[in-house]
């Protein structure tokens, strides 16, 4: 592996100052399950790793039924799905945290790192998008917020400017009669990367018959995870029906622009977007009704 320096930052301001001083070859180290592999395999050129696991702000895991979830950027997957209230509130996010790698990966990897790695196939990003997540970003000029669907800009690239780091993710409290769902297609049972992933969140009316609002997001069908906006908004006010869900699935397919690679062809991926969008929506609706 290439040579680099290592600093364990103790405060957020120390981490930001180090990032700012050292330019783009400085990277934040949290779980390291992507970063260390990328540096070892020559895909990232890094000369300073800033370990932030001792910084309090990136370790926050705070859920309140009224205000929602604050999820520190370095919180590992296993800590998230260990909290029953979070599992109940955001089942779509939990779906993703439980299928990222295996046990050993989930012991180190977190949702924040999955986002910052900015893989088009990242399992956590569609659930974050459908849950209306806001990214809290710290930089040399202070803090700013960004909707998560604007965070990834290209494969491996994010909206973080020089000197900026992701601090936490803020997810609103779930509305009543709402739920979420994420699933992916892989040719195995576990330990694989999504050929296509789809997430959905749905809010129904009190009778649980009519869709009040929905959000759909897709992974691995474009250079970044996608918010399927038209597919989402066309569902508002529709009665729950196969026709409504088919319309959304078709609209989701229309924005997919997949490539063909070792995991699947563009044609297969486009087909899968339809299948998985339907399953994600039906899965979320089923969870509301259960």
């Amino acid at each position: 592996m290439q040579d680099f320096s290592y600093v364990a930052a103790q405060t957020l301001s120390e981490a930001v100052a180090l990032l700012d001083e050292n330019g783009e070859k400085a990277r934040i180290l949290a779980g390291g399950t992507d970063l260390i592999v990328n540096v070892r395999e020559g895909r990232r050129d890094v000369d300073l790793m800033i370990d932030v696991k001792s910084v309090p702000e990136v370790n926050v895991l705070d859920y309140d039924a009224n205000t929602g979830l604050t999820l520190g950027a370095a919180v590992e997957c296993y800590k998230i799905y260990a909290v029953d209230a979070i599992c109940d509130a955001y089942p779509g996010l939990i779906d993703a945290t439980k299928i990222i790698g295996g046990t050993a990966i989930q012991g180190r990897a977190g949702v924040g790192g999955n986002l910052c790695n900015a893989s088009p196939a990242a399992d956590c990003i569609p659930p974050l998008i459908v849950l209306n997540t806001t990214c809290v970003i710290a930089g040399p000029n202070g803090e700013r917020e960004l909707p998560v669907e604007q965070f990834c800009t290209a494969p491996g690239q994010t909206a973080l400017e020089n000197g900026e780091m992701l601090v936490s993710l803020k997810i609103p409290a779930p509305a009543s009669n709402s739920s979420s769902f994420y699933l992916r297609f892989i040719p195995r049972n576990e330990m694989d990367i999504a050929v296509v992933g789809a997430g959905a969140s749905v809010t129904l009316d009190d009778a649980k018959e009519t869709i009040v609002s929905a959000r759909i997001a897709l992974a691995a069908v474009a250079p970044t995870p996608l918010f399927a906006e038209e597919a989402s908004t066309l569902l508002a006010g529709r009665e729950v029906s196969d026709a409504a869900i088919d319309d959304a699935a078709q609209a989701a397919q229309a924005i997919a622009r997949p490539i063909s690679d070792m995991r699947g062809t563009a044609e297969q991926r486009t087909h899968l977007v339809g299948v998985l969008t339907r399953r994600a929506l039906n899965g979320a609706i089923q969870r509301i009704r259960d």
Binding site: R40, G101, A104
Partner: protein, 158 residues
């Protein structure tokens, strides 16, 4: 040559000090600096689990941890498992069930199984299979390993 850092950590209950470069993984430190060669290098990218160790009570791939990150932490490796005169029940169960052939994946499987039984003393077969999904074995076909872990669970929770 790159600057080395001084690290103090606890390995299998004993305080250990070592010098390492930032770029050395915990796996490289264990094997090349401390001569604890039980953890194996398989894929070196977090897919195979041959390097599995327990770090502060959590199962990790030691190839995906930097040696410098273990300052002040506690590491359990396969070398710390057996008593001087007696194998650990998981090790016995692997022998009894013929749960290994070439053996290179075995230290990783056993540490992974230990982390499972530490947190869940009576796992179902389904839970065992998913927990061990990050450990690859190209010899046994997994059934004997799963049976060994089920037997070890019976033994340790009895």
């Amino acid at each position: 040559m790159a600057r080395k850092s001084h690290v103090q950590t606890t390995i299998n209950g004993e305080t250990v000090e070592f010098l390492c470069e930032s770029r050395q993984s915990l796996l490289e430190v264990l094997r090349d600096e401390l001569y604890l060669t039980g953890a194996k290098e398989g894929c070196n990218n977090g897919n195979c689990g041959a390097c599995s160790v327990i770090l502060d009570g959590r199962l990790v791939n030691s190839c995906l941890v930097l040696g410098v990150e273990t300052e002040g932490k506690s590491v359990e490796t396969i070398e710390g498992l057996a008593d001087p005169d007696k194998l650990h029940p998981i090790q016995d169960a692997f022998l009894e069930n013929a749960a290994l052939q070439c053996g290179i994946c075995t230290p990783g499987f056993i540490m992974s199984a230990k982390a499972l039984l530490d947190s869940n003393p009576n796992p179902t077969e389904h839970e065992i299979r998913y927990w061990l999904a990050g450990n690859l074995c190209r010899c046994t076909g997994y059934d004997k390993i799963v049976k060994a872990v089920m037997d070890a669970a019976k033994e340790t929770s009895a």
